[in-house]
Amino acid sequence: MKFKSVFDIIGPVMIGPSSSHTAGAARIGRAARNLFGREPKWINVHLYGSFAKTYKGHGTDVAIVGGLLDYDTFDTRISSSLETAKEKKIKVSFFEEDAHTDHPNTARIKIGDDDGDLELVGISIGGGMAEITELNGFELRLSGSHPAILLIHNDRYGAIASVTSILAKHEINIGHMEVSRKEQGKEALMVIEVDQNVDDVVLKELERADHILQVAKIVD
């Protein structure tokens, strides 16, 4: 079931005008921001399907950039996010793509600064709900609406066990988990949706675990 809570239906409280094109888009932007962990210096957004056709009318551009500035769906600052980005000297570009995608409301967001970059694909599935379907080339399925931990690790035995045992020790329950890799024995990605927010202490411990290369978290 994609929708688990009554508040996915009666909610979110948001700035209009479109839950798919504004709230869902803001959530995709905010997921990218959370994963990047800091304010990017440049933003490239590629829009597909209905997003590409109607983004100006719905304020999808404003919403995605608002999310990248770490605004929530109900934050009234969303409506002036493009001006804010300009003042902060963040370079923002939008690209309307013709390519067909599985979902009509798809955005590919590439962000970065001098120290690194990130590429993420998100879809807005209706009612303000969003899913992350791709991160730095890894396929995944992540609803941006639960706290989640993302770990890049070496594709070796014991990597997953070392992570889950740390979570068990801290009494953190796993709601949904996925592992994907581009190639056997190389870098792999672990996505773990949890029920409660995870402390930084736990993240530090996860970073030191066997075969773990990088850790990031998404907060509800």
Partner: protein
Amino acid sequence: MFRNVAELVELAESEGIQISEVMIRQEMEVRERTREEVVGQMERNLDVMEKAVEDGLKGVKSHSGLTGGDAVLIQKYMQEKEPLSGNLLMDAVSKAVATNEVNAAMGTICATPTAGSAGCVPGTLFAVKNKLNPTREQMVRYLFTSGAFGFVVANNASISGAAGGCQAEVGSAAGMAAAAIVEMAGGTPSQSAEAMAITLKNMLGLVCDPVAGLVEVPCVKRNAMGASNAVVAADMALAGVTSRIPCDEVIDAMYKIGQTMPVALRETAQGGLAATPTGRELEAKVYGISLKKE
């Protein structure tokens, strides 16, 4: 956990509780939250809806200038004349319009189930309220009942205009509202399901064709008609009228219709009203250019 309307009604009737209570208990279980937390969050959503209706009735205007002010016109008409369709119906219509006008003006709203269809549930609620005099708790329950039916649609079909057309948005919203009206008026859980079925049946095939891609034309007026559809269907269900096609099958039909709907009619501003001469003219006026791709 209920997966469809049949299970939802069965759960409520076997335990002798309301649909809203089934939804509250499920939410507490799934999210591991207390009743106070769950009900409290819904109360805050109710506050947002009430504020949006108030703002809309004072009169708002969207940035594009395409919508705004109609809620005020209808309320004024109601004060000066006796509406042919009745005060309650026109009150629901004006409050649904008020909510969507606030949404179009980039004001704060609560998506029910989406922003484009945010008018039907609060519009009917704040109109029926004047007739049934519910407690604040019963008003919060109205939202849980709406949410329970929306939950089934979202998981078994779609609530996205881009995926399923306007039938998935305003159609779902109107059905949710109809079911909630029935519960507030003292109807049974199965009468709620009949009201949802009757409403949604009459919204099947409704396309999503917003002019200039904006959630304004015809979205605001579709919420008006969705709200009135909900009130009429609720009355029919309360009278004992049933749907020959069960609610779950209507939802499934809606889903399948959405899947076969052309892309031009699913929130791309390429067909329907968006592609009419006046639709294109308005679009050019809003952007200075046309969204039409050669």
